[in-house]
């Protein structure tokens, strides 16, 4: 008898639905279209490099060395916030597993009763009362769940995102519950950085003009077109207005504890629509909740790296105690139709921080053919 074994390593994130791309062993999670994100990176790094290369030597000597130092710190902070916003899970809600989806379907059918044939079934909506306000929870046909309040389905990423704000192409990711504060800090500090660079550009030009005259200063702008200071000054100028505007808009949203999505739809504006039930009616409290609230865990992270949290605790048995989709089949033998996923993944139970094993070697699907 000859046995042919074909093994294929399945990366865990390939099994996840939705249109996200993952990098660095699944630690980085972004949308599929990243072109504009690279443009953002280029603009920020390009402008700052030119500033550091051409303006800072003059300013450090003639004004103060603290100026470039502060610019460097601000630049690093902006980059950190940008990368954090782009690479983190925005708060994606995982889709319902078949049993949960069926359970919800049965509940809906029980609630609707018998719909006469030819009539459309009533829309799938659940009403919940939050702080004396009726909020309608809609059913997501893609994810097969009733969306929690403030969640929305992003068609670009094909995921339901909790506290969905908007999908930002500049950042290459959705902005949701988990990364909103990084997004806000990014816009805020980028505005500050742009104002800072623009202001010191003007100072530089003024100081040189005092020495040499205005026209001579412009002629001596370092660099060649289009990569010279004038182009980037222009870029700075337009960036400045859009960033300051965006920061102002989001500051307004935060003070009211609203999302961009809710603002656009007009969920809480107008007399007939009711009050925002999530607002604390106090600007400071709203700001604190959004910016200094708890850091929520990424459930996508959990599905990528950990089979079960309890696996990290000392156990009497070696098998996982809580059955889930990663459990080998000796717990669920009756479900014959279920595909066997082969031997249990060789990933050791990992702690929260940098995972010890790569989620690449999740399951080795081995196909043995016996003659």
């Amino acid at each position: 008898m000859s046995a042919v074994m074909i093994t294929r390593k399945v990366r865990k994130w390939e099994k996840l639905p939705g249109k996200n791309t993952f990098c660095c062993d699944g630690r980085v999670m972004m949308a599929r279209q990243k072109g504009i994100f690279y443009l953002t990176l280029f603009l920020i790094i390009g402008t700052c490099s030119l500033f550091f290369a051409f303006e800072c030597p003059y300013l450090a000597v003639h004004l103060s060395p603290a100026i470039p130092v502060f610019a460097v710190l601000l630049f690093l902070f902006v980059m950190a916030m940008l990368l954090r916003t782009s690479f983190s899970d925005p708060g994606v809600l995982p889709r319902a597993l078949p049993e949960e989806a069926n359970f919800i379907e049965m509940e809906i059918e029980a609630a609707n009763g018998n719909v006469p044939s030819g009539q459309r079934a009533p829309p799938r909506i659940r009403n919940v009362q939050i702080n004396n306000q009726i909020v309608k929870l809609k059913y997501c046909y893609t994810c097969k769940i009733f969306r929690p309040p403030r969640a929305s389905h992003c068609s670009i990423c094909d995921n339901c995102v909790d506290r969905f704000d908007h999908h930002c192409p500049w950042v290459g990711n959705c902005v949701g519950k988990r990364n909103y504060r990084y997004f806000y800090l990014f816009t805020l500090t980028l505005s500050l950085l742009t104002i800072y660079i623009f202001a010191f550009n003007i100072v530089h030009v003024v100081m040189r003009s005092v020495d040499q005259g205005f026209l001579n200063t412009l002629k001596e702008t370092p660099g060649t077109y289009p990569l010279n200071m004038n182009t980037f000054l222009l870029v700075c100028f337009f960036t400045l207005w859009s960033m300051v505007g965006l920061t102002g808009f989001h500051t307004y949203l935060i003070s009211l504890n609203q999302t961009t999505n809710e603002d656009i739809k007009g969920s809480w504006s107008g007399k007939n629509r009711g009050q925002n039930p999530y607002s604390h009616k106090n600007i400071i409290k709203n700001c604190c909740e959004v910016l200094c609230g708890p850091t929520y865990p990424s459930v996508t992270f959990f599905s990528l790296f950990l089979t079960s949290f309890s696996a990290s605790f000392p156990q009497k048995t070696t098998a996982p105690l809580i059955p889930n989709e990663h459990t080998p089949d000796d717990i669920k033998p009756s479900i014959a139709a279920e595909k066997s996923s082969g031997p249990k993944d060789d990933q050791p139970p990992a702690a929260m921080q940098p995972p010890l094993a790569s989620p690449e070697t999740d399951a080795e699907t081995s196909i043995a053919k016996n003659q």
């Binding site: 995982p94 359970f103 919940v128 769940i145 200094c292 850091t295 048995t317 000796d330 033998p333 921080q353």
Partner: protein, 158 residues
């Protein structure tokens, strides 16, 4: 009525999955993580109401503690912001600490209370914090007494 007593090892070897019940989220207080304490009818024959309620209430308390907005969360937030959130590379967040406590608690409850009754609780984090999944097991080879295969009627509507 299944009165077999299992421990977790027995569950693995002798029981088969009959049904699953999903405890939904309770949004009456907003978007904070809280689960409904309504007792599902499928569990009526399996476990006492008080034990079930106590489990869910304790879990709700854990989540409330994790999501509490107060002095400690402000401090954590401001400190993290000052370090450009790099501090999270070496430090565990408060939420993560509470999640570990929750996992330990669920394991304990499974071992002591639920497995002997042929039930198993799945940590909500594995279901996206949307539901508490309780799996109902039947003894393998038990003659047709599937208490779980129907359960449409009387299931919680709305």
């Amino acid at each position: 009525m299944a009165t077999e007593f299992h421990n977790l090892q027995e569950l693995r070897h002798s029981a088969s999955l009959a049904n699953k019940v999903f405890i939904q989220r309770d949004y009456s207080e907003g978007t904070t993580c809280k689960f409904q304490t309504k007792f599902p009818s499928e569990l009526e024959s399996r476990i006492e109401l008080t034990l079930f309620e106590e489990t869910v209430k304790t879990l709700n308390n854990f989540y409330a503690e994790a999501e509490k907005i107060g002095g400690q969360s402000y401090l954590e937030g401001c400190l993290a912001c000052a370090t450009a959130y790099l501090i999270f590379l070496c430090m565990e967040t408060r939420y993560e600490k509470v999640l570990k406590k929750i996992a330990k608690y669920i394991q304990e409850q499974n071992e002591k209370i639920y497995a002997p009754r042929g039930l198993l609780i799945t940590d909500p984090i594995e279901r996206g914090m949307r539901v508490i999944e309780i799996s109902i097991y039947e003894d393998r080879g038990s003659s047709g007494s599937s208490s779980g295969s129907s359960s449409v009627s009387g299931s919680t509507a709305r």
